[in-house]
Symmetry: C2
Subunit: 461 residues, 2 copies
């Protein structure tokens, strides 16, 4: 792409004139909006604008478009591949004040929200409807951020990812127009699927200002369980059997012994420190009992002697809160460390092999790194706990990440199941999809010719 | 878009030299490849190429790209909105000889096929795996065509549409490159979702040469049923309650009395000639019984006195074959007629109202037109049975279609749930998605600057 002549100071002046105190150039705000949580170095925006409406977002983009100034969307700041960085400077739009539920259509099982609402706040708002929104990445992320990275989480094995659960979007495009990408119909064959093009585009093609999501009925009965296995391989093989049998498990999460130990310490649990599967079943009384019994048989085939089940809301919440706190629990294993969470996803038949080779690679490189993940989808995470001052350790860790991406791609999988490409995985995207990447870049250039929307993410034009 | 200078004769000469007898310019082949089945007038291609491999498709597109000659993909010719027409002339690529299953990955619940295989042939090939491919538009369409129009059918209420069931594609793009849009991983956050951009793009952005599909386990037990209601409204309200309760019905189809009468005559059935729901439940013994009982209670609330169930494969097949033959059954109601099947899809809460207003409009215009459809998704069809020589009748029918599109859009639905835009619904697409349409056109221009891939479909550039 030819070099764009940006006039960032002019954009800042116009935005400050328009937004007054809602445009901040303070150092701490700028730092907070470029906090990467990983080994990716922060690159600060020049200004943070706090949007309160779609009109605010539109005005911001219009001003930025006029001056060809970069615009970077910010939800709550939990992305993991440098998606929030401002490598060319520019404006961070903070969506946290756009946190309203716009319309609950309980009778149609959908809801329209502003992008700044978090997944937990959304579920609180839905409390009286008998419905819930199932997608739950570990962090209490914003729905806008989850849309931008095509996020998923523990429930995806049953309910799908953001890809399956975003029905339609209102966006502001690079020209500053408000555009609706779909309707509230459950299905449609009307033209190109811009909704799905936007989901996972990491803010590079448009900024969401309203998001219509599918909802699910809260199951009549929910039972969680934990099952301990003699080896990671035995646990993975149980997962493979469960999926292949078509058992409609709602959650099936692997924690390796190091992660179990971390969770026990951090969340005051007393789980056996062995390879562990956390599962959950949703359904009616009859179906849940049937599912647990079937799962128990599969687990027993792989050496699991006992499944501890939790029926009550309190017990279940304690278990899943511990799972969602796994990242913080892992960090506590190595005080003062930097954590780098990487992810990969492979066809389920290759899961055991992929995890086992990755564990060998970690051990051979002397790295402290629990493995855990959404194994029902063939997706897992490695939490690399690193001493930032130990450059050799960082180098070894980067080697592990690179080989993991290559391993997953070699197994017909992907270098990222749910974290996205951002700045961190651009080389692996090219390894994975080859000639598809220039096609993506052509779309980017067509929709955002001045490269103002989150430049430098997914690919460097 | 500026006018492209096409040299179709040069492309024809090069293709004939390369493909020999596999390139046909015979009148009957050209006519067969532009047969529209509706009121849309046929527009014949200049040449039909019978592709036998991805390399053949690639060579065809490369020759066409060189001469800026249109290329139109052809599966089995069952599209309904003029998708196969050649308004600017050019080449029809016939995919019927690319009908192989390339790779069954039963352990990962997916399969990779060539685009010319039909859905019925695919399910025959899967027979020994315990798996099936659920998407079933009425016609025995090709998987490539179903991908291109984002097709669905009776099972979509439970298993989703082609949108949810295509995992990855191999395509030939407008530059004649072979590109892979995804992997076999169940989920991914790796870059733009080109797979979903291609699904439903009606051959205007790329031609599929291999399609990876999700598969489902064949349920332990399947029970079908038919339920008669005192009114269309009562049947629709039962559907709404079923969906809102979250009952995992696998199929729930409405047939209005005129369609029931047609099916009885055509398929030698003796269904009561009243508003009818055909349903199907998939699951284990226990869950299916539970679901039928729950559905029975909901239906009884709306005046249904009895549900006739069919357990045996033979009985079930007879019922669903009749449903799939509905189009032919309807045509037989008015011998010599032209049938025009139109579709719309609305949020489920608006279904009863949308169908009832549409029926009033049909009656007010004196048109013979059964209504039926995939009502669990809020999607229904109107089969307009028309005398082609009666121009006034055609005009009245076009008015009904136009008002149906406006009505669906006004209810926050879509002008097409599964048939696509093609040539027939371009004005309604603009009504439905406004400023999104120029964004789609920008993508088209970026990926196919000479407008060679199925020009004149979805929008006229």
């Amino acid at each position: 792409m030819q070099q764009v002549t940006r006039d960032i100071p002019a954009a800042i002046a116009a935005l400050q004139a328009h937004f007054g105190e809602r445009a901040s150039s303070g150092q701490s705000q700028r730092e907070q909006h470029a906090h990467t949580t990983t080994w990716i170095a922060p690159e600060l925006p020049d200004l943070v604008v706090f949007a309160e409406s779609a009109a605010d977002v539109q005005r911001t983009v219009q001003i930025c478009a006029e001056h060809r100034c970069p615009v970077i969307p910010f939800g709550v700041g939990t992305s993991l591949e440098g998606q929030l960085n401002a490598p060319e400077g520019g404006i961070s739009i903070d969506f946290s004040r756009m946190d309203q539920v716009l319309e609950i259509n309980a009778e149609d099982l959908n809801v329209t929200v502003q992008p700044g609402i978090t997944r937990e706040a959304l579920n609180i708002a839905l409390r009286d409807t008998g419905l819930f929104f199932p997608i739950d990445p570990g962090a209490n992320a914003s729905i806008g951020g989850m849309t931008a990275t095509r996020a998923s989480g523990t429930n995806a094995v049953r309910y799908g990812t953001m890809r399956e659960n975003v029905l339609a979007l209102e966006i502001v495009n690079a020209q500053g127009q408000i555009v609706h990408t779909g309707t509230r119909a459950k299905k449609s064959s009307a033209g190109y699927d811009l909704t799905h093009l936007m989901v996972g585009s990491e803010g590079t093609l448009g900024l969401s200002t309203a998001i219509t999501l599918r909802l699910q009925g809260i199951p009549e009965r929910i039972v969680s369980g934990s099952a301990t296995f003699p080896s990671i391989d035995a646990a993975c093989k149980t997962v493979i059997d469960t999926i292949q049998l078509g058992l409609p498990v709602a959650r099936i999460e692997l924690l390796d012994p190091m992660q179990v130990q971390a969770c026990n310490q951090y969340s005051q649990l007393s789980l056996p420190e062995a390879p562990l599967l956390l599962v959950e079943f949703h359904g009616s009384d009859a179906t849940v009992d049937e599912q647990i019994a079937q799962f128990g048989e599969l687990a027993a085939d792989h050496g699991c002697n006992q499944i501890d089940t939790a029926d009550s809301l309190e017990e279940r919440n304690r278990l899943w809160q511990a799972r969602h706190d796994a990242y913080w629990a892992a960090r506590a294993l190595k005080p003062g460390c930097t954590a780098h969470s990487t992810d990969a996803c492979v066809p389920i038949s290759r899961l055991a092999e992929c995890i086992s080779e990755t564990r060998e690679d970690l051990d051979a490189n002397g790295l402290t790194a629990p493995i855990l993940g959404h194994v029902g989808d063939g997706n897992f995470h490695v939490l690399l706990l690193l001493d930032e001052s130990d450059t050799d350790e960082i180098t070894r860790a980067k080697g592990v990440v690179e080989r993991l991406a290559a391993r997953a791609i070699g197994m017909q999988g992907t270098c990222t199941g749910e974290h996205g490409i951002g700045q961190g995985k651009q080389a692996y995207l090219r390894d994975e999809l080859g000639e598809a990447v220039p096609m993506m870049a052509a779309i980017k250039r067509a929709l955002d010719p001045d490269n103002i929307l989150n430049p430098g993410k997914i690919f460097s034009l």
